[in-house]
Symmetry: C4
Subunit: 204 residues, 4 copies
């Protein structure tokens, strides 16, 4: 009892971390160097050459926004936080706060298969932390809010494996065929969450 | 109903992002290198040469402060946040969190027309997100607070196109005449918002 | 009336900015390069050579903590925030968020008189923003909380000029005699605030 | 009385700083350079070579999470904050916000004994700040919440020396035998806190 965490402070702490990650991403986009610093054409070409980096940044931006939404919706269903949830949440934040690194790697090596594999791997580990947290809570249903239906929470937890680590691992798999296929899957995941029906969004 | 967002948490998340962006800007101002590290005159000249960068930083600082005020005033008029407002807000935050990059570009290439065009473009996209959010809400007036007069909200939304994307696009247009004209317009926009009548400030 | 700001949100926004500035400072302390990467003696000497940078960081850390305390105490005395207080607060935050740059300059050029002059100048501008905000409020006493005695607020506002911009300007003046004298004054200011009597601390 | 701090705002400020530190750590992990930018094998090897840096980052991540938990639990036991607690907390935040630097040093010089000594020293200073804060409060028991048993608080304070500075100093000592022994102790400290019994966790 005494060992429970103040849910509000943990949420604020997590929100703060998500806000910082989502904003830090832009620091990896460095001002390009052009020889003739008055030439608009040269600067335009330099910025155009940075498009893969900018697209990678957008991908991670919306992915983190989706993580925030899913985190928000999951924590709403908890009545209390114990040590277990706290530390699974810390593992989730660990992988989430690592995202700027694979994002920068992807931006610098957009056509290197390994940067796509690495990106997918970190995202799969992050998404798996959500599933681990859910399955931990399923074994301690007292931690769930009364309003939560345990069966739909169980279904949502199983779904979270599919629309999380499984999707990212399939992205890794197809990256061996063509890097752009992996990119399409990584991009498809946040888009799916943003545009999916309210009902599906609620379940995750 | 179940799918609504907690307005307070979204505001805190957005405020956190604005606070981080406004503070990160300074990281782009790097300590200059001078050959004789005891010479006050050399260091003074080096800092003086950084004036365009420092002015660009101030411009973005006050622009983000104005964005924060407008965001604050707009969200005050919402009763609830649905998926649509949340994701328009995410688009707004995407462009806002990109600001450190065009600011650094402007600081490094102050006399290059393209850096002024690019700065104006990102600001126009950011400002347009405000307008899109407003027009989205106009089609779902249930999301507005009871105290809000729908007609003055509609007028404010139309004004937000003029004193937002339209102004920035006109800055882009005049940058083809002279870069400093564009800079003057970009600087004029936050100054207008800071010193404009309470009434006008309220409408936006 | 409609144009007043929500005091809590402005405080949270300001606190967020102070927390970010105080933490960003450390980013200017870069890992040194040593030729023999197994040599403890070389790395020890390299870190020792960074002592001026580390001391400059500590100076700015405690200075920002004192700014936070003074901001906290000043805002406690306001009943409402109007446009004027908000924008004077923005000017204060502008100079405060600039602090990482003069701190890095001081760390890289500890014996260059100009870096001490520049540090003092930015701090004087920051401290002057506190005084400007106070004198603005003195002309609109309705913004003060009922519990505030206007005469002691006026005395505190006058004191804020002495223990603020005046002290920093005197630091700039003595820097022409010897850089270390200026450093001693800049260090003395936060130490004075930390160890001064509760009464004096309250007045500022 | 007037001089007391608003506990909530100090907690929020401290939480903000912890959230920023824990997230900034990743900025020290830079994208590696590989000659053939299409070669997955080369990039894989480059990332593999960064493993010490990544492990150092994880170590600091979980250490800061443990600091946050301990801070959270300690502040729960305070009724009020006076100047003394505030400034001991500032000293704690000073050392905590310095952590990104020794972490980066450890990542760049993983086999240099000095980087392990330096890491242990900063952590010992940070942990000692917790103990100083506790012993300060023991002399002013009015600052403790009524629900706190002073004897168990005293025991916890003595324990905080053992499982804090003493452990880190022993890590420094064994680093003279072998760097990996120090690393094992530094890693053991957060792991101990994460997996220790609820009762022990509560005492600290």
């Amino acid at each position: 009892m005494m060992n429970l965490f103040n849910k509000g402070r943990v949420e604020t702490f997590s929100d703060g971390i998500f806000a910082i990650i989502i904003t830090l991403l832009v620091l990896e986009i460095k001002v390009p160097y052009v020889a003739n610093d008055h030439s608009a054409a040269e600067l335009y070409k330099a910025i155009l050459g940075m498009l893969p980096k900018i697209l990678g940044w957008m991908l991670s931006f919306f992915t983190i926004a989706v993580i925030w939404v899913n985190h928000h919706r999951l924590f709403k269903q908890f009545r209390n936080l114990d040590n277990g949830i706290f530390w699974w949440n810390a593992v989730l934040l660990l992988w989430a706060s690592f995202i700027p690194f694979p994002t920068a790697l992807l931006g610098d090596y957009p056509s290197n298969p390994f940067s796509l594999i690495f990106y997918g791997l970190i995202m799969a580990l992050m998404a798996a932390s959500f599933s681990f947290m859910r399955f931990y809570v399923l074994r301690k249903p007292d931690l769930l809010d009364e309003s939560v239906d345990i069966d739909s929470f169980r279904t949502g937890s199983r779904m979270s494996i599919v629309f999380g680590p499984a999707m990212y691992l399939s992205g890794i798999a197809v990256s061996f065929i063509h890097p752009y296929l992996a990119f399409a899957i990584y991009l498809g995941i946040p888009i799916y969450f943003i545009f999916s029906e309210n009902k599906a969004a609620k379940q995750l």
